[in-house]
Symmetry: C2
Subunit: 480 residues, 2 copies
């Protein structure tokens, strides 16, 4: 891991401007001597920086800080306002994306998953192994139905870093954030009720709403400022929705972090119109400029239900999430008992043990930097290879990009053609209740930019061009 | 464990009648010599048999097979038919029972939980420990969303022993049987739809129905033959229900095993009236006279959704259940993805590994015998200590007893008074959609009959008497 620390150091110097585009990096041998590390370590660090797109090799000359790409694409435009409640219908498309995720021969730009190498799985599994060996009675009962107290205590401690003051009893541990979102939706609304959601929004949210027989009122969200509060206010004024569900901290797919002022206003609006706010904070730890506060920080009367998980930072397969249900505590508890009874205690204990060590914060800092660099690299590759009318987000956190394709190019057509070339991407249509984002793609940057991914993005650029040409060639391909 | 095998052997001799009531057991030293084991082992085995109520010590004489209790109580009467759909309302009472379960100072006759000593937790946790140590990438992704293939393969193999021919792809692994039941209900019905359930039935089922906004049509179930098929036919004829949910193999709380003929007829009825059957088979492995076939064995067109779990045989806290959804496969998959995405793979792998060894079948046989003996012991204690108008089931499997209290005695009153004496029991009212079983109790026999439990049952008998007297003393206590 030594070379990684070195690479991180150098990356930070580049970010801060101590090293600028065109600067030559120290010679390999020189830096090795200076830092007291081996030549191999420096070479691996430089390789890492090259993979991350920060550094380039010039033949017989050395390593240079790469100049920022000259081609810069515009950002996607927020969707137009459409305040009718929509029956959601995304489930089939989602299954296809989830299934492609399992196929390791496919280049993984589709699902929002992180390279396992970037997650502390070895340490976590070792902790689990020790716990399972030492505590031989584990699994004997359902455990504390609200979650293992040690984990809830760790979460309450971490909440201080999020700017919140919470007690362990405020948390209910769930089977990932998806169970938590399902519980929240059911706690605050009934079938046929409408929920205000960001547009575009994470398809899992739309799927849950669809399957609970609820409806979505889509409120435009901007890649820079997040949920459009004026549009939300209009929706709330019409008293059409039973709740607001939003992800103010680098949500999927836009990656916008709402300002503190906007979060405060968001909570105020919910209070004014007396609706709960389900806050999906799953990407909160992955904001690039420090951990932003959740909107819950401005809640005064328990109407914010905060949802989080370790799926994007530790281990998606552990299925550990949580909810702070505020005034809906009793209702959420009772729903949880009747749904999955409790969350497996052994896995909760392993996560609690891991969180209690200092390693988690170090890991988070490194993960944030790494993902940021992968996102930036992917952005510049898209700028390089996609047609100039393409638009792409510049997210403030997370690890996905939202791409608006040139006019007339269908995201589903691109996805299908890409899959024939063993490249997975998520079609934009999944991120709207009525499939209205078919001119968009979501591209995940969870994996380092290897040759394979470089090639895949170049190929994707070609596909976007080709699909476009095909499209323009015959009017029978035109869709509304 | 040696003494346990010895005790099991002797218990079987008693069951089969090779040793009868009043027979003297071999002397401790004699049996030790004969079997080539230590005197201590024989003493522990005899102690075990004594705890199980099979053997008694006569001072200065030795160990004797106990004569069957002379007092025998009648069995509870099946409820009267009530074919209206009922809005369910049990959740609050259930929370109280679940919470009492966590308090180790309370005598555990309330929740349907098994003494951890009777579960192979050490071996299972050791397996988990090894897997977590060796497979360092576990947890990196959501895994196969339908469940780890090795577990599904083991389940398909086991299904042969249940009299079924299933493929691994027929299974979806869930977070315990409760998630599976929720998925099934949502796959086949909508809010406001009615589900035919046994009466009395497991409160978790009623809770799930309540929280999904569905209604229950309660069909009387008999302690001996299970679901009343004539009553069911009438309900189906009126086309009032969207599905039937039943537990034909030693279901909770009656413990009845439906005959093969009745199961066949049950499936036929569902076919005739074109409704799905959700079959809760969680107690199927715990039938006393060998593993009965699930009703699914008579299904010809995929309308039976079979639900199972390892919560009653291996480890409730692992939260591993499954569903064989038949023709509803796609719908259940899609609901599962949007609810908890997938079930933690690590725990599935540990269970799969454990099932693949021969130890599981041995464990099951021993567990069945042990639970049967605990149930019989508890039955005779109730016969001894409860008023003679009490009625109690003689279950064909599982480990709970359904007790009908003498006329006028309220189960809730008994539960509350018992809790003051640190004894947990489940009030019968939880097992009916409208709380109609308040003259009943469910008593769990998951723990060996220790002194503590002996005392508790004696105390319970007194409470039942007292509550009755109080009740009869003043008309202001009379409830309808």
């Amino acid at each position: 891991m030594l070379y990684e620390s070195l690479a991180d150091n150098l990356a930070r110097s580049i970010e801060r401007g101590s090293l600028r585009g065109g600067d030559r990096l120290p010679s390999v041998r020189g830096l090795a001597n200076q830092r007291g590390v081996s030549v191999a370590t420096v070479l691996m660090a430089y390789q890492q920086l090259e993979n991350d797109g920060l550094v380039e090799i010039r033949a017989r000359s050395g390593h240079y800080v790469k100049r920022k790409s000259l081609v810069a694409l515009a950002e996607p435009r927020p969707p137009t306002v459409n305040r009718t409640a929509t029956k959601v219908s995304v489930c089939l498309g989602v299954s296809a994306v989830m299934k492609a995720m399992r196929d390791r021969s496919v280049v993984p730009l589709g699902a929002a998953e992180i390279d396992p190498e970037l997650l502390p799985l070895r340490a976590l599994n070792r902790t689990l192994s020790l716990i399972a060996r030492e505590m031989q009675w584990l699994g004997a009962d359902y455990g504390d139905l609200n979650g293992v107290p040690t984990l809830r205590r760790q979460l309450a401690k971490r909440a201080v870093k999020w700017g919140l003051s919470l007690h362990e009893n405020d948390f209910i541990v769930t089977v990932g954030a998806m169970e938590a979102i399902n519980l929240c939706l059911r706690a605050v609304a009934q079938p046929n009720d409408s929920i205000a959601v960001e547009s575009p929004t994470y398809f899992g949210v739309l799927q849950a709403i669809e399957q609970l027989g609820m409806r979505a009122v889509e409120v435009p969200s901007s890649p820079r400022t997040g949920l459009n509060l004026l549009a939300l206010e209009q929706v709330l004024r019409q008293k059409k929705v039973k709740a607001v569900l939003a992800s103010p901290n680098s949500g999927n797919p836009l990656g916008a972090v709402m300002s503190d002022e906007h979060k405060e206003r968001l909570v105020q609006l919910c209070r004014q119109f007396d609706v709960p706010l389900i806050e999906d904070d799953v990407y909160g730890e992955l904001a690039f400029e420090g951990r932003p506060r959740p909107a819950l920080a401005w809640d005064t009367d328990g109407r914010v239900l905060l949802v989080g998980s370790v799926s994007k930072t530790l281990a998606p397969g552990y299925r550990i999430g949580w909810v702070v249900p505020g005034r809906y505590q009793e209702k959420v508890e009772s729903l949880k008992y009747a749904l999955t009874v409790s969350t497996p205690a052994i896995l909760q204990m392993a996560v609690a043990e891991f969180l209690s060590g200092g390693g988690y914060d170090r890991h988070l800092r490194r993960l944030q930097r790494r993902l940021k660099s992968q996102v930036e690299r992917m952005r510049s590759l898209i700028c390089e290879h996609f047609p100039p009318e393409t638009r792409v987000t510049c997210p403030a956190g997370g690890f996905v990009l939202w791409v608006e394709l040139p006019p007339g190019v269908s995201g589903i057509a691109v996805q299908q053609e890409a899959l024939r070339h063993k490249i997975a991407v998520a079609p934009g249509s999944l991120f709207g209740a009525a499939g209205q984002f078919d001119s968009h793609l979501r591209i995940s940057c969870g994996f380092p930019t290897t040759e394979r991914i470089l090639d895949a993005v170049e190929r994707l650029g070609t596909i976007v061009q080709t699909v476009k040409r095909t499209h323009q060639a015959g009017p029978h391909h035109v869709t509304a």
